[in-house]
Amino acid sequence: MSSEPLGGLGRYAGPATLILSSLAGGSKHGYALTRDIEQFAGVTLQPGTLYGALSRLERQGAIEALEGEGRRRPYCLTQRGAAELQEHLGAQRRVADVGLKRLDARWSAA
């Protein structure tokens, strides 16, 4: 596993976090992923961006493809993907906690 969570994804790190977070709730195909991400993050991933990130995540072993439903193919999170997502979100949470605490301490009274 990369020492950096979701390392090596470059510009796809953001979409990858959204995709892994969506798949943490269960397997989904491309269009269902797009709609789910829109609902929980308010971000619309265009098809090219979505599949750019999906193909990289699959190569890294963070997700895997399941049997297709017609032409649609659902994807699910792997153990490795779950661990990477947990590590990545944990790091983000630490940053968010520090930022929120400092905001509360110095800016909430303003």
């Binding site: 195909h29 491309g30 269009y31 797009t34 619309t44 265009q46 098809p47 090219g48 961006t49 979505l50 599949y51 750019g52 999906l54 193909s55 699959e58 190569r59 890294q60 072993g61 895997e64 297709g68 017609g70 032409r71 649609r72 193919r73 792997t78 153990q79 490795r80």
Partner: protein, 208 residues
């Protein structure tokens, strides 16, 4: 008119004389090369291009709806290996997106950008270099290398556009040999690069 007055040569005789003089003026290889080009290479190339255009047009016509045609056009941004792996499911997503009313210019730009990124990731630069080497390598090898060497050996006077034959005598052999070496090196590099390429998006076993 006196019977001794020289007759002007007929057009046929002029043509025959010109053809006869060709090997001397242009080099012995000119006639077989011309014959090869006009009887084989040019017609075969033209025919192959015509067959390809007709087949492509038929394929496109079989795709019935404008959405089908648009999806096919969008998919072409991606390399063949990627399409083989993700093509069907990506086409299904594109159809859902377009039918949902989100198929504007933004979709086309996003797919084009992602497709080009997939091509670049698939050793695009290496593929391009291999193509350039395999195309350009023939120029130093044959017309600037082997042909001047043969002309040196056979003593044909034409220098045409053969670089080596414009140089002083001792350098002619050396330059032609260097051209052969350069051509072989370029072709070998091209073959080596092309051999190292793998189809894009080939499915790999997932890591569990």
């Amino acid at each position: 008119m006196s019977p001794h007055t020289p007759q002007p040569p007929s057009a046929r005789a002029e043509l025959a004389a010109a053809v006869h003089a060709l090997p001397e003026r242009m080099g012995w290889w000119f006639i077989p090369a011309s014959l090869l080009f006009w009887t084989v290479l040019w017609p075969v190339g033209f025919l192959a291009a015509a067959v390809w255009l007709v087949a492509r047009s038929r394929r496109l016509r079989r795709l019935q709806t404008p959405v089908d045609r648009r999806i096919a056009r969008l998919l072409r941004w991606y390399p063949a290996g990627w399409r083989e792996r993700y093509g069907d499911e990506f086409a299904a997503l594109l159809r859902d997106t377009i039918e949902d009313g989100r198929g504007g210019l933004r979709l086309s730009l996003d797919v084009a950008r992602a497709g080009l990124a997939a091509r670049a990731e698939n050793g695009g630069r290496q593929r391009m270099l291999a193509g350039v080497f395999l195309t350009v390598g023939w120029i130093p090898l044959f017309p600037q290398g082997i042909v001047p060497l043969v002309m040196q050996l056979t003593g044909v006077p034409s220098r045409s556009w053969f670089l080596a034959l414009y140089l002083p005598q001792p350098l002619q052999w050396l330059t032609a040999a260097a051209m052969v070496a350069l051509g072989l090196a370029l072709l070998a590099a091209g073959v080596r690069m092309a051999g190292g390429l793998t189809p894009a998006g080939r499915r790999q076993a997932p890591v569990r």
